[in-house]
Amino acid sequence: MKYFFYIFILLGVFFACRKDKVGYKATPYILDIPSHFPDMIIPSDNPMTAEGVELGRYLFYEKKLSGNNTMSCATCHMPQNSFSDPNQYSTGIDGIQGNRQSMALINMGWEDFFFWDGRKTTLEKQILEPVINPIEMHESWKNAVAKLDQDMNYRNRFFRAFGEGGIDSLKAAKAMAQFIRTLISGQSKFDVMYKYENGMPLTSTEQSIFQTIDVEEWAGYDIFKSLDGADCFHCHNGPLMRVKKFSNNGLLPNAFNDLGRAHVTNNPEDNYKFKVPTLRNIALTAPYMHDGRFANLDEVIEHYSSGIHMSPTIDPLIEFGSQGGVQLDAQEKYLLKKFLLTLTDNNFINNPKFKDPH
């Protein structure tokens, strides 16, 4: 009888100290971050998993997310254009155009603000918007989820990604955010130049690329960085080729009189300020600026050289604004463009892991 007592106590000890049951675990996904990049901060409520990334890739290319099943995220963020739209304004399923250019999806995992006016502060929140926007995909998340739920393939993929049954918009956004965080570009000629000038060891592949960098590209890099040259680096520097800020870069207000950041903050000091974008893959992401007003790089360079429009909120770093710009001569413009082309990362746009899986 006493033994029963001790057995009972032992069982009590066993259960009292036991950890909770460990359920299904998705496979952790290790991001391939270039050695000269900072860490990417992953939200604790959306850890990267192989299953989540793969589901996100399916969803990114999924046309069922649109009202008439004709548009996916990739419609306006095309891989061959470094996940941007070659059209000045993207057209939604109802034939309505927006008034801003689709931003390129490059190295988004390092961003803190999304959209040209920075109105969303996480990738997960940003992703929810285009689906329900009447001028974009124009679908309710309820309908979109119902369509996905009819597909056993998706039901299985959601389970594998999140370890539980059920599909909802938040899970869809999380999965797409995971996929977009994998869209890392860091293998351009510029990356080799950056590593070389900072004394970082080059791999054998990078050594080969290094041999192909010509004197004009190096000269263009000097003009890019020079205070007396193009002076681009104040807003486009570091391995990510941008700084985190909103800036009025001296554009004439467009026909929409788009106030940019001020739409979010309601602060007139933010009038005409827009998010500074990365220059990575810049040759692939025409047209340029928040409204796609410049069709090519020559027009962009001309803007900074002689087309600056002064206004009360112009960025103080547009230091030669009162002279109309930095006044580059023809040779300097040519060399600057040569450098900008070194930012193209063909491995990025040809990466099979980023392609349409359907």
Binding site: V13, I41, H234, P312, L317
Partner: protein, 250 residues
């Protein structure tokens, strides 16, 4: 008897086996330092970005950005923190928050700027929470060779006496490179008690004094731009010297 003893021992084992660790570690003290920019000709009230003030020369002026790094903050042999970053627009008055014993920091020494070794390190290799990590430094990092911008003051000024306050003239002072790193040393500091576990120190940055240093005033009409480049040494020297003298305990 033996069974009773065994039972008691077993019970004691049960009581102690699942017990959590003692929950009374020594009290941790958090130290916070804040900086209050001010424009002292207005009295002691703090100043704001984007508000219009008047320069010593009578120009209308507004500041759009005030940022700086401190590094190697310590008192003698007691280290407080490796680096701290003040970004008035981004993080308000915050300069640093760390664990420490305030009684050891009645005085504080450090650099305005970034210690040379840190200044030329890989900016992506600092811990994610470090203000020196490239993700946090952003535009305050020029490149590995020049290093960080130690001090950044930007704004707009109206130097044209046309009666229209259009503030159409930009000024920007970007001071960096090892040669322009400066020391600071504060003593008799008063740490304010916030709670049993937190103390706070208030510093101030007097931007009126920055412009109106009696020995070397900055006239924004003619002295409005330095990036610490060659040919800009005179203004660079003046700007960092004035900044050093306008940074002090509150």
């Amino acid at each position: 008897m033996k069974q009773l003893l065994f039972g008691i021992l077993f019970f004691m084992f049960l009581v102690t086996s699942c017990k959590k660790d003692d929950v009374n570690p020594p009290a941790t003290t958090y130290l916070t330092v804040e900086v209050f920019p001010m424009y002292s000709n207005l009295g002691s009230s703090s100043m704001e970005l984007d508000s219009v003030y008047t320069t010593p020369e009578g120009y209308k002026v507004k500041f759009t950005d005030v940022k700086f790094y401190n590094s190697m903050l310590k008192n003698g042999g007691n280290n407080l923190i490796e680096a701290s970053f003040f970004d008035f627009r981004g993080t308000g008055n915050f300069l640093l928050h760390t664990v420490g014993d305030y009684t050891k920091f009645s005085s504080l020494q450090g650099y305005i700027g970034v210690d040379s070794l840190l200044n030329h390190s890989d900016p992506s290799a600092f811990p994610n929470e470090s203000p020196l990590n490239i993700s946090n430094a952003g535009p305050m990092h020029w490149g590995w060779n020049p290093g960080y911008i130690f001090m950044n003051v930007e704004g707009k000024v109206d130097t044209i006496a046309d009666g229209i306050n259009n503030l159409d003239h930009s000024f920007s002072f970007h001071i960096g490179t090892d040669a322009y790193r400066r020391d600071f040393s504060f003593s008799n500091l008063s740490w304010i008690k916030i709670s049993e576990t937190e103390r706070k120190l208030n510093l101030k940055l007097d931007l009126w004094k920055f412009l109106h240093n009696s020995a070397s005033p900055i006239d924004l009409k003619t002295e409005f731009l330095t990036h610490t480049a060659s040919g800009q040494q005179l203004l660079t020297e003046k700007v960092i010297a004035n900044f050093q003298q306008s940074f002090m305990p509150q």
